[in-house]
């Protein structure tokens, strides 16, 4: 009654947010182009946007105390190294003699010593145990004494501490083939241990784990950590035969039951690099990436790099992609950013986002390496084992110039000892777990980082076009139906047909990801043949699935719409699990999904572009392209790809799941759309 004919004739006016949505969907092409460009640009800008690191936790106070390590500690360590070296030359059964020598020295210094015996557990693919640790299927087949490796664990109880927390020092060494670097790292740990048995300021217990790395550095630490965190009843020693025990002359001092200290506040893996680089100073390499791109708290890296730079005058470096350092296009981008920064500064001196070309190139090389290591989801060292137990850990690799003569060795011992002592004293001041600083970050140099709030923008810009495009395609097809006036029921439910196709392809992806488990059951097969079996089986299953559920060929637009939506969901889920994987995946997947179009509909140029994108988008092809561009390793055989994939599932990397269950199905669907008979 109240409404006049004029208002009835008008369309109901939507709320502003709905109108903005409609506007964006209507201009989906421009939005896609702008967002994708902005996303890539934001990624390139990350080295410029990186912030300086700072020690966020007040309690840490790195460097506030002077190092107390004395000549006595160092000369003791020197003697220890000499003994190890002479033993290495003389003795036969080194894998028993060296742990015994270490245990003897630990006990003499005043630590509580125990052995930890473990067996090698080969990495196997357990599809049902993904993300969970494999349970102890004790490999009882060849249980000889030789098959056991022995970690030696020394514990210093904090004299006035409550014994509820501890700090772990790890020195991996290979008793079968003890290298001088490993003896030096053992010596550094010895000097620190020797000091810490005497000090009165410990609030956390100190655990020195001399990890027997004959079955791999990671495995030894992981085995010890697992036993440390598994409550055992009746003693650990019962697991083994009695004759396997190391007969100890130091009698009661060394126990075979696993001794524990408190929960671990932090862990430091001490290593000495093989060859010093040609730099002026000694360098310290920091490795931090753990499984699935998890990083230790940034504060731990900050403390180590602060103490190394300001305390010991070391040059701290994190892993970077050396081949990128002299790439011309990166230099060109760097120059562009530099000039933009200069112009901005001339406009307003307050704006300081300029960065020199050299800085930019180095930052990008480090960033790419950081992204790659996180995306791979494989830990970069034995510190990764700690992250699985939510313990912050890093590997400190000291690369000295030379230490062949004993004097050089002495200074290295002093330097390394002081550094480790400083870090321990700083962590000792900690009251809670590391929590104050970032856990989600990318490093662009040892003292610069990009936090999650910044790098997420690049990713979000990159994936933002996907839902827009999906909505636009969907609304266009629905509109065309309405216009064509076909008298079909359930017009608005038509998207269910392509959804079925997409679901089937994703199901196929899940099956493909499980196939390697069965391939491993085939005895004595070569990697190449395994790979071929995998590929052919996958193709076969795809055809079977396709023929059984012969989907009526839906409109390509709707199919693309659903594909794009599923890609969007997959990428967003992955960005929560492992950002770096999602970022790299989005770089490959988003252009492919956005561009794909049946070759009959699209023009020649677009079809060619689509073809290139699809070829690059195949995981195997990507692997080879990336390798040849960045020069990771030489050789481009199929074997290497197999090993790469094998390492992914061996390390329980979520990247493997992503590739099989998001990337590969989307790639197949893109090909399907490309070949769609319109």
């Amino acid at each position: 009654m109240a409404s006049t004919p004029e208002t009835e004739g008008q369309k109901p006016k939507h709320r502003p947010i709905v109108r903005i949505g409609i506007f964006i969907i209507a201009h989906s092409f421009i939005v896609s182009v702008v967002c994708c460009t902005a996303g890539v640009l934001a990624l390139l800008l990350l080295p410029v946007l990186a912030k300086k690191t700072y020690v966020s936790e007040n309690a840490l106070m790195p460097g506030s105390a002077i190092p107390m390590i004395t000549d006595q500690d160092v000369s003791g360590a020197n003697n220890f190294i000499n003994e190890l070296t002479s033993l290495n030359l003389k003795s036969q059964s080194l894998n028993i003699e060296i742990p015994r020598l270490i245990a003897l020295h630990m006990a003499n210094l005043g630590g509580e010593v125990s052995y930890h015996m473990f067996q090698n557990q080969p990495n196997k693919f357990h599809p049902l145990h993904f993300f969970t640790s494999t349970d102890t299927e004790a490999n009882n087949v060849n249980q000889t004494c030789e098959s056991y490796a022995t970690n030696t664990v020394g514990i210093i109880r904090a004299p006035r501490g409550d014994g509820k927390e501890s700090i772990v020092l790890v020195t991996p060494y290979n008793p079968v083939n003890l290298s001088p670097n490993e003896t030096l790292s053992l010596g550094i740990a010895y000097s620190v241990f020797s000091l810490l048995t005497q000090v009165s300021w410990l609030a956390k217990d100190i655990i020195w784990l001399a990890a027997d790395s004959q079955y791999g550095q990671y495995n030894s630490v992981a085995a010890w950590l697992k036993d440390y965190h598994t409550p055992s009843f009746g003693g650990f020693g019962k697991l083994h035969d009695d004759e396997c025990h190391i007969s100890n002359d130091i009698a009661t001092e060394v126990s075979d039951t696993l001794r524990r200290a408190g929960t671990m506040a932090a862990a430091l893996v001490i290593k000495v690099a093989n060859t010093g680089e040609a730099g002026e100073q000694d360098a310290l390499n920091i490795y931090a990436e753990a499984s699935n791109g998890q990083m230790p708290n940034l504060d731990l890296i900050n403390v180590v790099s602060y103490l190394a730079v300001h305390g010991q005058g070391l040059r701290v470096q994190v892993d970077k992609l050396v081949s990128l350092l002299d790439s011309t296009w990166l230099k060109f981008i760097g120059e562009v950013f530099e000039t933009v920064g200069k112009i901005a500064r001339s406009v307003n001196p307050q704006w300081k986002f300029g960065i020199s070309v050299k800085e930019y190139v180095e930052g990008s090389a480090t960033l790419v390496s950081s992204l790659y290591n996180q995306a791979l989801g494989v830990p970069t060292g034995s510190h990764g084992a700690f992250r699985d137990y939510q313990v912050d850990a890093i590997t400190m690799e000291i690369s000295p110039k030379l230490f062949s003569n004993s004097k050089g060795r002495q200074t290295e011992l002093f330097r390394g000892g002081r550094l480790v002592e400083g870090v321990i004293r700083s962590v000792n001041n900690l009251l809670e777990k590391f929590h104050q600083s970032f856990f989600l970050y990318l490093l662009t140099s040892s003292n610069k980082f990009v936090s999650v709030g910044v790098y997420m923008i690049a990713f979000l810009l990159l994936v933002a076009p996907l839902p827009v495009l999906a909505a636009s395609l969907f609304s266009d097809t629905i509109k065309s139906y309405v216009e064509s006036e076909k008298n079909e029921p359930f017009k608005s439910w038509r998207w269910l047909y392509p959804t079925k196709t997409v679901f089937l392809v994703h199901l196929w992806g899940a099956i493909v990801s499980l196939l390697p488990y069965f391939i491993y059951q085939i005895p004595d097969s070569q990697p190449t043949s395994r790979l071929l079996i995998w590929a052919s089986l996958s193709l076969f299953i795809l055809f079977v699935l396709g023929s059984f559920f012969r989907a009526r060929s839906a409109e390509w637009a709707l199919l693309k719409s659903v594909t794009v939506s599923s890609a969007f969901i997959g990428l967003c889920l992955m960005s929560v699990i492992n950002f770096a994987t999602a970022e790299i995946g989005a770089l490959l997947l988003v252009p492919m999904c956005l561009m794909t179009k049946p070759w009959r509909v699209a023009g020649k140029v677009q079809s060619a572009l689509n073809l290139v994108l699809v070829i690059i988008g195949f995981p195997g092809a990507t692997f080879f392209v990336v390798k040849s561009v960045f020069g990771f390793e030489n050789g481009s055989s199929l074997v290497e790809f197999w090993y790469w994939v094998e390492s992914l599932w061996a390390w329980n990397s979520a990247t493997y799941i992503y590739i099989c269950m998001v990337h590969l199905p989307c790639w197949v669907l893109c090909i399907y759309i490309l070949l769609h008979p319109c």
Binding site: N58, A59, M61, S64, A65, I66, A158, P159, R160, G161, D162, V199, S200, W201, L202, A203, R425, N428, N429, L431
Partner: protein, 403 residues
């Protein structure tokens, strides 16, 4: 008839005297401000954790200083939010230092901590100030000050704009502090109060104060940080804050009998050394800070007067004629020592001195006894009421007699 007249006269005279006495009593209790009788100190360290070592060292340094300058332990309320001395990280177990030279252990034998650890809360702090305690709280943990007390309130910790953080979990806001001080004033718990705060933006904590007799010193202005003075690289922590360090440096030069004034303390703070601007709020304080010795708050030393004649010094109110001999050294003649307030017009006997004083004029003794008795009576209204009841009965008796 005659009897009756005498009775009449008697009753009237008694009435008038009673009236006069009650009137004079009530007026004196209002106009006569209390005189300085004793000194109290409330020293608060509000922050926990090992890296806040310096706050405990600050407080313990102040504790040592006020004890050295004469405030006894039973009049110091010491609140320490954490126990650095027994922290496992302390390289020197059971010792606390405020200087890297480690000459002075602040945590020696004679430290009485009244509130420690998690007892140091905003609630307990306000209870101490206002005196509203649970019944079970022992006297040693109470601030038993009176209207003649000078109180030093020293606080240190982490603060910000109009707040001071307690225990990393709660905070004291400036209006909480102002309210507590106002309650103290109403309850006549102090005569003069010096609030000294060493924290970031300390000046903001005083913005709400209104009560007269309050003097406030803060280590920094609004928007400024207060910094630590130096790092003890042996213990591995900063051991003292700048403001407190220079306050202590000022007091180390003093002994119990020095006459350094509050203004000299104020002027001793050098903004360049402090790296912040010390703030003084004196508008609520009636006295001239140039004339008030620091020992009025930081010690327990009151002016001692050596008089040749005990009689003249005690002979009543016209003691403005008496020549004072203010001694700055320990008086050897204890018998003739008398304590007076800084205001010569208002004078009272110190109760301890009373007993040893002898051989004065009987009239003066009698008068003093009355004065003391009346000053002992706090409840003026009750006396007036009793007086009125007494008057009524007298009137009744006298009328009954006369009739």
């Amino acid at each position: 008839m005659r009897n009756r007249e005498i009775n009449n006269f008697l009753s009237r005279s008694i009435l008038t005297t009673l009236l006069v006495i009650t009137l004079s009593l009530s007026s004196s209790s209002i106009t006569h401000a209390a005189v300085h009788t004793n000194n109290w100190a409330v020293l608060v360290c509000t922050s926990r954790f090992w890296f806040n070592y310096r706050h405990m060292a600050n407080t313990l340094s102040l504790y040592r200083t006020v004890k050295r300058l004469g405030i006894p332990d039973e009049r110091i309320i010491l609140m320490l939010a954490d126990d650095m001395a027994c922290n496992a990280r302390n390289k020197y177990p059971a010792q606390v230092f405020n200087n890297e030279n480690h000459r002075l252990n602040l945590y020696g034998d004679n430290v009485e901590v009244d509130y420690r650890g998690y007892e140091v809360t905003v609630e307990n702090f306000l209870r101490v100030l206002t005196g509203r305690h649970e019944n079970a709280v022992p006297r040693s943990k109470r601030l038993l000050s009176d209207e003649g007390s000078h109180i030093l309130l020293y606080m240190t910790g982490h603060g910000g704009d109009e707040f001071l953080k307690f225990q990393d979990s709660e905070e004291l806001q400036s209006h909480d502090l102002a309210d507590a001080v106002k309650q103290m004033k109403e309850k006549r718990r102090f005569k003069e109060l010096l609030i000294m705060v060493d924290t970031c933006q300390a000046a903001t904590l005083f913005s709400q104060l209104q009560s007269p007799g309050v003097l406030a010193i803060g280590s920094s202005m609004k928007g400024e940080n207060s910094y630590s003075h130096h790092l003890d690289s042996d213990v591995g922590v900063s051991v003292v804050d700048r403001f407190t360090f220079y306050t202590l440096a000022f007091f180390e030069r003093l002994n119990m009998y020095d006459n350094a004034s509050l203004s000299s303390l104020f002027s001793s703070f050098n903004p360049n050394l402090l790296m912040s601007t010390a703030y003084y709020r004196t508008d609520l304080y009636q006295e001239q800070v140039e004339q008030v010795p620091v020992t009025n708050f930081f010690g327990s030393v009151m002016k001692t007067i050596h008089t040749d004649s005990a009689y003249r010094a005690t002979s009543g109110k016209d003691n403005s004629r008496v020549k004072y001999d203010v001694t700055s050294s320990q008086s050897d003649d204890v018998d003739t020592r008398r304590m007076t307030s800084s205001d010569p017009g208002k004078q009272v006997d110190h109760p301890d001195i009373k007993l040893v004083k002898g051989g004065g004029c009987p009239h003066a003794d009698w008068w003093n006894a009355i004065v003391e008795k009346f000053q002992g009576i706090k409840n003026g209204d009750m006396i007036v009421n009793y007086g009125l009841v007494g008057m009524l009965t007298l009137v009744a008796v006298s009328t009954w007699q006369s009739s």
